[in-house]
């Protein structure tokens, strides 16, 4: 298992190098560069600009520029955000807890809803309840998240006043107090519900279909012949088999957890990685953009690795020795 993980981690390196080249090239192709943001507006002397360009290495050949960037990147120097004028790492670390909080809350909501609905549907397929669940799930899947988010804000924040309409915490509360944490929870709940409840469809339907398929397997008949109650057969014997294919989704979720929900975060003006990402695109904050793209690529690869390792844990047949 350890050997396998190490081998997989090493295997990620060429992939990451390729991704970094793509990210770097895209940033180069895009119009403008970091210098335009850095320059003192009172000093637009072309000679000074040319001198700065030379000093910052913009005139070096591309491979050299790439090499300089990647060496710094490897050492944890992601560059300086041209918008915030602070190191990119600091900007990301500042936003990360918010995104993690939102991501985990949304994922918990998705899991709870999807497992409840999927297990019910799988046990009672082709009934009214099953059809209703499928209907709800597909409607939710079909509604774009920005529409759902806008409506949620309108009804629950403005009409009913149950939740705040944006932000991640009230300004007036003192950091670290219980009120502070309650306020954060209060702020995260609405975007988390929108994000979580909208994405139950794949989990629910996958779980349902797998439970139906497994309930016809021979081992279910064996368990029945042993006098095992039907509820235990569904909740232990079948469920344990049916979570195996769901592990694939978990790999994607892992990247989404930290990558943030770009649209939802923006609509809720929730200061997280998703919002930062969109911001960095519109304000040409290339160092931040590149660092985030690299981070997300790495997390996607790591998520896949995590899913593959988890397969071994949930399915003894593909366990690595």
């Amino acid at each position: 298992m350890l050997k396998y993980s190490l081998r997989r981690l090493l295997g990620m390196i060429p992939m990451l190098i390729l991704i970094s080249i793509v990210v770097f090239s895209l940033a180069k192709i895009m119009p403008g560069d970091s210098l335009s943001g850095e320059i003192d507006p009172n000093n637009t002397n072309p000679e000074y600009i040319a001198e700065m360009r030379e000093k910052l290495g913009y005139n070096d050949p591309l491979p050299v520029q790439y090499f300089n960037w990647i060496t710094g990147f490897m050492q944890g120097d992601f560059g300086k955000s041209t918008k915030y004028k602070t190191p990119v790492a600091d900007v990301i670390i500042e936003k990360l807890p918010n995104t993690l909080f939102l991501g985990i809350m949304a994922l918990v909501i998705t899991y709870i809803l999807a497992f409840l609905m999927g297990m019910y549907s799988g046990r009672k397929p082709y009934t009214i309840g099953d059809n209703a669940i499928a209907g709800i799930n597909y409607v939710m899947l079909a509604i774009p998240s920005f529409v759902a988010a806008v409506f949620a804000i309108y009804f629950f924040a403005f009409q009913l006043n149950w939740f705040p309409f944006g932000g991640s915490v009230d300004i007036i509360v003192e950091e670290g107090t219980p009120e502070y944490w309650l306020s954060r929870l209060h702020h995260v709940l609405l975007p988390a519900i929108v994000l979580g409840a909208m994405s139950t469809a794949s989990y629910t339907q996958f779980l349902r279909n797998d439970i139906i398929e497994n309930s016809r397997k021979d081992y279910v008949r064996t368990a029945r012949a042993k006098g095992t109650p039907i509820a235990k057969i569904y909740n232990v014997h079948i469920l344990r088999n049916s979570i195996i294919p769901l592990v694939t989704f978990l790999g994607f979720d892992f990247a989404a957890l930290i990558g943030g929900a770009i649209i939802t975060e923006t609509i809720f003006t929730y200061p997280g990685i998703g919002q930062l990402f969109l911001d960095s695109v519109s304000s040409r904050d290339y160092p931040t953009l590149m660092a985030l793209t690299m981070l997300l690529s790495f997390l996607t690869l790591a998520g896949n690795l995590l899913a593959d390792l988890l397969y071994g844990i949930v399915d003894p047949r593909i366990r690595m020795d």
Binding site: Y219, H237, R240, P316
Partner: protein
Amino acid sequence: MSANYASTHKTPLLQVKNLQTGFKIDGDYFNAVEGVSFNVQRKQIVGVVGESGCGKSVMSLSIMQLLPEGIGKIRGGEIEFEGEAISKLSDKKMNKIRGKDISMIFQEPMTSLNPVFTIGYQIQEVILNHEKISKKEARNQSISLLKSVGIPRADKIVDEYPHQLSGGMRQRVMIAMAIACQPKLLIADEPTTALDVTVQAQILELLKSIQEANDMSIILITHDLGVVAEICDEVLVMYAGKIVERATVEELFNNPKHPYTDLLMKAIPKMDEDVEKLATIDGLVPSITKMPQVGCRFSNRCPRAMPECMTITPQLGEVAAGHETACLLYDASWPTEEKRQREREGASAV
């Protein structure tokens, strides 16, 4: 007390009375088992033989109430176990019997075990379902059960998963599970069909020795007459959902009465004969939806069919001591009404 003792030991262990099991096809029920009656005595091994699709498995699943939910249903008749009617018990009450008093092993050892649980877990489950003991005791029992069914390294295998074992080993595990609570009746539904010939013999020997050691009764469902000859006491021959012949093993092999049984016997390849082509029975079992409602169900394939076979339904009748058959070639199989009529007309059967 003594009267009670006597009565429980006089009644057969299992009595199946006029069992009718149907399957729902396009909204209508069609009987896959049509009026089957038989008894299983204590310590007896009863073989049930017949072609694929003749209702053997459905009959055994009916006894356990393991018919596919919403599709298969017991539509008539009674099943009594130790004198108690069990065919209408609730699932909860049936769970107390399944695995404890009656247990079952299946044809496909490769898929009959749950792939994600250890062998030990799956054996312990049946013990913990029926006995109030600790997990540790159950584990120890599982290990000794595995040893008793001839599994080497039982203390290692107990923590292994089904995919790590061969088919024969898995069937041994199934047997260990089935005998864990020392049931009075074991239903073995084609336990050796999916196994190698050499392994088949070992599994049969194992079943026989367990049956003798535990004073257990066995219903052995098979389409292999060789298996029947090897270990059974009594044999039921089924065709198209009905019992067509019932006899002791010796009687059946020496003196088969029903043309179907006779043809089955002839289909067994013989070691001392050199033939190009093995004997077969032409045609197929009629499909469940096209089953003739009157007459003998074998008549369309029977080489000795008479005109009456199409119109008169034969009944199981005794043709020799302890030997019953349902075929109009024998007087005993004629229904009373038709028999009287025939006697009036002065005709006589064989």
